[in-house]
Assembly symmetry: C2
Homo-oligomer: 344 residues x 2
């Protein structure tokens, strides 16, 4: 196994180094081949690392950055003033070949824009898309995109998302001839927006795509499809809705019976039940699959939730490791050439 | 209490009279003031009713209809050929004053179009919207609209939905000065689609609306707002996503430990746990709040899920009863006059 170096925007997200540094150390402990470039305020990062195990510390390099792009900044303005920011420098590390991928929990729009600017989209891709892999009810996984990289997508973009999602399912999840569906508000052909109907027509005619039709929101976790494609606005709202409901259930399960006076055996019983339920539903915990991959670029960029905790951010780092090892951008590039119509 | 007559499109939905007739009888048993007009195939309905308790049967009148609008029909074509269909006749019963409200589990687009055509929108409303009331984590309720009556909504429509939702929360849920939010993909002002940002600007400037800003999908059930407004496509996908996740959890809870060989006390214990969990999560079961209200018309129209079971369709009938008793359309009309800008 070869050395793997990733660049982390250590200042991004709601908690900055308080989350990114411990998560980075955890990821280093889990993979001895991993090296990390932590990009951000050098003093803050040094002090966060001061108590780290020296064996882990050796595999970390601090890259100084003067500024941070605010989470609530307008992307266009943030990009214009991005020089010297931790996000931009982390992406530049990838561009210059010093790191193989970049992870950020910062401003989504700015990350998308800067990544496109610095790392360039693959041949034939107009706009990269945010993709995640969700666990579903049939014990398998579903590739879902776009999750918010593009607020408004036309039919050509939806078709490109479909191609990238199908490649992802085939090459990375090892699903042969993956089923692909468009997210819509009904299963009948006449339903939904024009952009979706137009995309459906193109996909239906495409020999390289196993297009199975429309699916509705309630099928997000049902496992009826291997790839689910939607525009970024709808994808973002859908994913967050799902996460909100899952978190609510998990917290209700956790608080099950709390605050009640009980005899000792009921308390023990309560804990046993909680453990069983946690095992049963744990794989649905959104922290387990944090990290959306920005597909369609010439290198790997992982977007973590802004509100990610240590565990969730560590999962995002591991997503980047996997994407690099599985050569996701390279595999997509090869397949795109075969599938997408030539523009000239 | 005065007599209440509702018209039911008895042929609509995935199961037609198999669901609508038993649900109707259940609703009649629960409310002695209720009278129902069952619109559909007279022979099929008579035979479905033949075994009904005669006291209930007396409060049912069968209204013959020759045809049914298919669930997968294109709304524009369905409306053009709607004469004599169970959905249209049910709406005509309301128009002619023979019923005070109409319930259908049929084609959403056709119901929306026919209702607008026959019952007319309220003064100042361009397009009616589908609204539901969701239980949230803080033990309260949130009014959510539009859930799919309009696939594409401009900012004026979003503002009208907001006004109707606020009136609904104030007059029907008795929430004083209800908080109102727009569903978006971030909380910052710069986020999302132009239509949403434009609507936000109008709402922020509106003295009659307690506008609190944007909320994201994960806040659907958090209780942070009393009214949540979105376009019909996004609302439909969001609601169905939530329902899908809730149903998955409920079914996982139900199957908890099934198929395992156990000693007797573990079986008993398992049942006890299931009952407790069912009590805890039962109010989130989508069957409990089936029935979206088509707001913005001069009379009450309730759209049930096409896949509603008997219990869920009965809940939809009861939604119609409540909307009539609480005079929802009249109250909205009065408030709209005060809130909406005059067009001339």
């Amino acid at each position: 196994m070869t050395r793997l170096t990733l660049a982390i925007d250590a200042m991004g997200g709601d908690f900055g180094p308080c989350v990114t540094v411990p998560a980075a150390l955890q990821a280093l402990a889990a993979n001895l081949q991993l090296h990390l470039l932590l990009v951000g305020d050098a003093d803050a990062l040094s002090s966060s690392l001061s108590k780290a195990d020296s064996a882990l510390r050796e595999r970390v390099q601090i890259i100084a950055a003067e500024s941070v792009i605010a989470s609530d900044a307008k992307p266009s303005q943030a990009i214009r003033h991005s020089r010297g920011s931790s996000m931009r420098i982390a992406l530049e590390m990838v561009k210059e070949g010093k790191a193989q991928a970049c992870i950020s929990a910062g401003n989504t729009g700015a990350l998308m824009g800067l990544a496109k600017l610095l790392l360039k989209p693959l041949e034939g891709i107009e706009r990269p898309a945010l993709m995640t892999v969700l666990p579903h009810q049939q014990q398998g996984k579903t590739v879902v995109l776009d999750l918010g990289a593009n607020v408004d997508s036309d039919s050509t973009m939806l078709v490109q998302f479909a191609v990238m999602g199908a490649v992802m399912a085939e090459e990375v999840l090892a699903i042969a001839n993956p089923r692909l569906a468009l997210l819509n508000i009904g299963q009948e052909e006449s339903k939904g927006l024009d952009t979706i109907r137009d995309a459906a027509e193109i996909l239906r005619a495409s020999a390289n795509i196993n297009y199975i039709g429309y699916l509705e929101g309630n099928d997000l976790l049902s496992g009826k499809t291997d790839v689910l494609v939607c525009d970024g606005f709808v994808g973002n709202v859908t994913l967050k809705t799902m996460e909100g409901v899952v978190r609510m259930f998990l917290s209700l399960l956790k608080s099950q019976g709390e605050g009640q006076k009980r005899v000792w055996w009921m308390t023990l019983l309560g804990r046993w039940i909680q453990r069983r339920l946690a095992t049963r539903f744990g794989h649905l915990n959104p922290d387990q699959y944090n990290g959306a991959c920005l597909l369609g670029l010439r290198a790997t960029v992982i977007k973590s939730h802004g509100a990610a905790n240590q565990r969730a951010f560590m999962v995002a780092i591991q997503q980047a490791e996997q994407a690099v090892q599985r050569q996701v951008p390279q595999r997509i590039a090869v397949r795109l050439e075969a599938v997408l119509p030539k523009s000239d």
